[in-house]
């Protein structure tokens, strides 16, 4: 038991503690809050954020940040629905991989720009976000592309098959397993943590740091687009700015899960905890039917308060 406790970070434990507190607080407010149906519904919603946060976490582990998430999510959604309109049944079959591939391209461009031009990721991904937005406006404006999700996308995002567990949660599970495997069992995973701790030392140790950086941004783009495909399936259509509400929660989830925003430290379990935390918080605030104004304020205050409990940096000492 102690060994298990030791292997888990303190921030992760506290984050799970907060989850239990939130669940109890929610159950005081509404009987339905602890019902399996409601929790499974929350899990479905959490899956979309979870997939985006997985990519965001990889980038944050490097000490970088990906601000192109909103419109890369939208690219994923729009391209996957448009594929069916362009290539008929073949396109529908390829909707998911095609959407992800488009996200991958944006991620690759992010990575290349940051690795070779050495432009701070915060500003370069911002620019790519604007370019992605421009391309999507152009895409919807001129040609009235197909925006209906395919049946498979709808099935993947909305339906449940095994024990009522939503399919989307299984997608998140697969993504999670792959990422944990990559971080813990492959050289790339080691390089990511090393890069986040000190890039120059990693480079001097013979690691191709540019490749590591490009890989992380490419994965982040691909995962954002994948979540976009699922979101399009969830609402049965793709639309502009569909990814806008996901940037801040994704970053907040990663940081609440104990990942250091300066890079080098963090576990995937923490990110899972952070995602569940954010989704539960949002859903409690929604259930309470509070004014939007108070919802926003409480959301902000709670995040600051949680971070003050365990996310504080070290004091400056020379």
């Amino acid at each position: 038991m102690q060994a298990i406790l030791k292997s888990v970070d303190r921030p992760v434990l506290i984050a799970f503690g907060f989850i239990i507190v939130l669940l109890l607080a929610g159950s005081l407010y509404s009987q339905n809050f602890l019902s399996p149906e409601y929790l499974l519904q929350q899990l479905k919603i959490a899956s979309f954020l979870g997939i985006i946060a997985s990519g965001a976490m990889l980038v944050i582990l490097l000490g970088h940040i990906d601000l192109s998430i909103p419109w890369v999510v939208t690219v994923g959604g729009m391209m996957s629905t448009a594929a069916g309109g362009w290539w008929g049944p073949t396109g529908e079959a390829l909707a998911l991989p095609f959407g992800m591939a488009c996200g991958l391209v944006f991620g690759l461009v992010n990575g290349l720009g940051i690795a070779y031009l050495r432009i701070p990721s915060m500003i370069f991904t911002l620019g790519i976000n604007a370019v992605a937005q421009g391309l999507m406006v152009l895409h919807t404006g001129g040609f009235a592309p197909q925006d209906h999700a395919t049946q498979f996308m709808h099935w993947l995002a909305v339906e449940s098959t095994v024990f009522g567990i939503p399919n989307a949660a299984f997608v998140w599970l697969i993504v999670g397993i792959l990422i944990v495997f990559m971080l813990r069992r492959t050289p790339l995973g080691r390089y990511i943590y090393a890069f986040g701790n000190r890039e120059s030392a990693t480079y001097l140790s013979g690691v191709n740091t540019r490749a590591v950086l490009i890989a992380c941004f490419a994965l982040s783009g691909m995962l954002s687009a994948m979540a976009g495909v699922l979101l399009a399936g969830y609402s049965n259509k793709s639309f502009q700015a569909m990814g806008d509400p996901y940037l801040l929660p994704a970053i907040a989830a990663v940081v609440l899960g104990g990942t250091n925003i300066l890079g080098g430290r963090g576990t995937y379990l923490g990110t899972v905890a952070g995602v569940i935390l954010i989704v539960l918080l949002q859903s409690i605030l929604a259930v309470m039917q509070m004014q939007e104004a108070f919802r926003q304020m409480i959301y902000g205050v709670v995040i600051v308060a949680m971070l003050l409990v365990y996310g504080r940096g070290a004091k400056v000492h020379g």
Binding site: L126, A130, I261, G300, V304, V316
Partner: protein, 326 residues
């Protein structure tokens, strides 16, 4: 001579942004057929001043190697507060204006407190506080509305001698009487010191905590002034979160275009002002050249990307790859 060369090397970004702005504005002005050139300049100045003030607000925390993702929301919040308070008798108008500026400072104070005393990373702390500020804005203005003193608004968005926009004069006054004294003060120097080497600054006895605190409060002050100007421009308050987010993102771009390093320690608000003007002129240029509306967002994005990529010229001069990591 070496002094001049040092100054040139340090102000490279600032000078570049000024040149780019002049070229772009000349293009814009030259292709705009109008009988009333002063009106064109006035409307360009009024939209430019708003982003310039928000970009100034972004610059100060960036100089300390921080970041303020809440400037856009402070801007929106003070806009809403101004639409409720800056109206009525002259005394009420004055009191309201002071209250708006103080509320901007208060928002900056909260950011500073969380960053300095709470020791949270600025990027995530201000991300969270921006939710609080947009909440306050929504509380005041659930739907767009409100009013502002008409005479004051018309004066602040008008011209003196029918040529010079008051907004630009206001901007110059803010720079000369708020930024320059701050830059010269111990606090201002502390901001630059904390941004370029926090540990070394600490060991040299610089009061880092106080400097960072001042940086965030000053940031809130600038954002508050921007909110005030926004109210003078629109006569209403609107709690629009997308608009706030856009201002935040554009402010970061303006700071970078203006030659301030996102790693802190070098740059200044004057560059950011020109960075903001460059960004605003891009939008105006698209109108002048009859760019199809559908292509505008893409063109804007590409220009933004190219503008921030100018900073990459540094990479070409580097001989030893290790220098890249510094």
């Amino acid at each position: 001579m070496t002094g001049l060369r040092l100054w040139l090397a340090r102000s490279y970004g600032l000078l570049l942004s000024i040149v780019v702005f002049i070229v772009m504005f000349a293009l814009y002005f030259g292709n705009f057929s109008t009988d009333d050139p002063a009106a064109v300049i006035l409307s360009a100045a009024n939209t430019g001043v708003l982003l310039a003030l928000v970009a100034m607000a972004q610059t100060v925390p960036v100089l300390t190697a921080g970041l303020d993702l809440s400037v856009g929301m402070i801007f929106i919040m003070t806009n809403c507060i101004a639409s409720a308070l800056v109206v009525g008798t002259p005394l009420q108008v004055v009191a309201g204006t002071v209250a708006v500026i103080l509320s901007g400072c208060a928002a900056g104070f909260v950011n500073g407190a969380i960053v300095v005393w709470g020791r949270l990373q600025p990027i995530i702390a201000t991300l969270a506080t921006s939710a609080i500020y947009i909440g306050i804005a929504l509380l005041i203005r659930p739907v767009p509305g409100g009013d502002v003193d008409g005479d004051l608004a018309d004066f602040m968005t008008g011209q003196v001698f029918e040529v010079v926009p008051v907004g630009l004069i206001f901007l110059v006054v803010v720079v000369l009487f708020i930024w320059v004294p701050f830059r010269m003060s111990v606090l201002g120097r502390g901001c630059y010191a904390a941004g370029s080497a926090e540990g070394a600054a600490y060991m040299s006895g610089v009061d880092i905590a106080r400097s960072k605190f001042a940086a965030y409060v000053l940031s809130g002050l600038f954002a508050g002034l921007a909110g005030l100007m926004q109210t003078f421009n629109t006569y209403t308050g609107e709690a629009s979160a997308p608009s706030g987010g856009l201002y935040t993102l554009n402010s970061i771009a303006a700071v970078v275009i203006g030659g301030t390093s996102l790693f802190g320690g070098s740059g200044g608000v004057v560059g950011s002002i020109f960075g903001a003007f460059v960004l605003r002129t891009i939008v105006s240029l698209l109108f002048v050249f009859d760019m199809p509306p559908l292509w505008q967002p893409l063109f804007q994005g590409v220009v933004l990307l190219l503008a921030v990529s100018l900073g990459a010229a540094r990479v070409l001069r580097i001989r030893n790859r290790l220098e890249l990591f510094s």
